[in-house]
Amino acid sequence: MSPMTAQIAEKVEAAPRRRSIGEVVLTVDDLQTVFYTRAGMVRAVDRVSFALKAGETLAIVGESGCGKSITALSLLRLIPDPPGRIVGGKVVLEGTDLLSLSEPAMRKVRGNRVSMIFQEPMTSLNPVLTVGRQISQALMMHQGMSKAAAMERAVEMLRLVKVPEPAQRVKEYPHQLSGGMRQRVMIAMALSCNPRVLIADEPTTALDVTIQAQILDLILELQNQLGTAVILITHDLGVVAETAQRVIVMYAGRKVEEATVEELFARPLHPYTRGLMASIPRLGLMRNQTVETGRLQEIPGMVPPLFDLPAGCAYAPRCALADDRCRAEYPPFEEKRDAHWAACWHAGE
């Protein structure tokens, strides 16, 4: 184990492991989302499958443009059509295939059984409506609550997400709250109907570092209380180590590796995962490890354009291990070790 993975392993140890994980609530099977653009067809999500259990946190990591946000939006069927369309697969939530539901039926799922927290707390709230009205609208819509009851519950939700003086805050407008407070409001909104699945799309990216930890702790604490399954979309491996139980690594729209957090950080199999881990800045590295020229490692090159993917492995052009077979043939997604899958001809080399 290298010193940097050892540091991440420490974080993994510190992460809460006490939560009870229940039965499977969400199964995604062979999900395919494409975009039809002038440059050609873009396979933004290409045969992605995973299962999610109640109370579990699943992290989806990858670079910008790897398809993690589109995966999340596909689950809620919020892909703008045109240009995008879900062309295949199944998303089964507690026995119902969401992809076969009618639009009105799907609306009853969104915000009620599956809800989402967005990246931008500053713009994800309507500036001209009070916070209370925005939280209560989902309750009135999905739970059929009266205005007064919904407002009461909104106060309760704000108390739950630890907003001070919730009875005052419900009457305030978003611009009167700080970024961290707004993200708490977003979380209160998302959890108000007690969803089975919460999708958090980079929930801490736009926040101060000090607030990030608070928000993550809050999400995990509420998840524990309510038994919600969480899909955490992030590019921050530190966040993954602290919060998730299982990790999916995506590259160019496909799953390239999947494992438990402990397993992934201890034995990353895919060269892309290893590249991601090597490019985390570490203080210790700068002081001691002058061996590696003292510079931060990077993955050479860029994600290839999705409408023009190479025939073989999409990562091959950037991979140090790539050979002719990698360039010609896409590697199968196989279980390389116990409960540890990867799509690579040279897994673990």
């Binding site: 809620l76 919020l78 009105p104 609306r107 009853k108 799922v109 969104r110 915000g111 009620n112 809800s115 989402m116 967005f118 931008e120 713009t123 994800s124 709230l125 309507n126 500036p127 001209v128 409506l129 609208q137 989902a138 819509m141 999905h142 407008y173 611009h175 977003m186 909104m189």
Partner: protein, 297 residues
């Protein structure tokens, strides 16, 4: 170094403002021009409501003895050639002007908002069709459009309101549509969709309230324009029919013949028109500042 008077600074920031009376005073202090406009508009509204109480004579009753009487003790603003009391007519004219102004602005805004919101939200062929119709309507000036409408509908109070409201629709629809186009792409609209709101609900609940601030600015500007258009229509004989006292008609009756011999017949209705338009414009500017939620405290 001078000492800072914290309580005076706090009072300036409005920290101890409670109750509607002190709130009003505070706002009047902050927007003196708006307060001035509000006072003018309120005066005219009161004049319109209590027109029967505050005028001594019926505005339509004629009195040959008073014909073309100069302003003075017997007639506050003089009398016209039929001996009708000008003060009564100007005060009662406020009723007509405000009814037409408010009525046509409200009607025009209502239809314009519905068209603009639907156009900007649905897009596609509906938007294309609506926008081309609006292009055609906007190619004609407001007054010409109102003239055509008034001439084809015939002179009456209701028809005047409708005639003036129709040319307002394209302006309102344009503003609402362009705002809708910007707002529908914002993250909170997507967040609302992720909450399971239907498109109609999103349009009404999230998009519409965000277009209200520009709408109110536009509406107050249009209010002045509508009053002016009514005056113009009546001046041209297509607006409010006799014997209703309309400021525009008063001007047209007197301007040609009596402007030299009895200038008060022109001055007072003209002053009334100018004042009420001026007042609504000042008020509109202040309302715009006030309605911006970022400036609320």
């Amino acid at each position: 170094m001078t000492t800072v008077d914290h309580s005076a600074e706090l009072a300036r920031a409005g920290a101890n403002v409670t109750g509607w009376a002190s709130r009003t005073l505070f706002l009047a202090n902050r927007y003196p021009l708006g307060a001035f406009g509000a006072v003018i508009v309120i005066l005219f509204v009161f004049a319109a409501i209590f027109a029967d109480v505050i005028t001594p004579v019926d505005p339509t009753s004629t009195n040959p003895a008073k014909s073309l009487m100069a302003p003075g003790g017997q007639a506050l603003m003089g009398a016209d050639f039929m001996g009708r009391d000008m003060y009564s007519r100007v005060v009662h004219g406020a009723r007509i002007s405000l009814a037409v102004g408010l009525g046509s602005t409200a009607l025009g805004c209502l239809i314009g908002v519905i068209i603009g919101l639907a156009s900007g939200y649905l897009l596609g062929w509906f938007d294309l069709l609506v926008q081309r119709v609006i292009d055609i309507m906007q190619a004609l000036p407001l007054l010409v459009m109102a003239l055509v409408m008034a001439a084809s509908l015939g002179p009456s109070l209701e028809n005047t309101i409708i005639a003036i409201s129709i040319p307002l629709i394209p302006n309102v629809a344009r503003v609402i549509r362009s705002n809708t186009l910007a707002i529908r792409e914002l993250p909170y609209v997507e967040a609302a969709r992720a909450q399971g709101m239907s498109e109609v609900r999103i349009a009404v609940f999230h998009v519409l309230p965000n277009t209200l601030a520009p709408l109110i600015v536009l509406a107050t500007a249009q209010l002045g324009a509508a009053i002016l258009t009514e005056a113009s229509l009546s001046f041209l004989g297509l607006g409010i029919p006799e014997p209703h006292p309309s400021w525009g008609r008063m001007l047209s009756e007197s301007a040609a013949e009596y402007v030299r011999t009895a200038p008060w017949l022109v001055i007072f209705p003209g002053l009334a028109i100018s004042l009420v338009v001026f007042g609504t414009n000042l008020l509109g500017d202040a309302v715009r500042d006030l309605l911006d939620p970022r400036q609320r405290s």
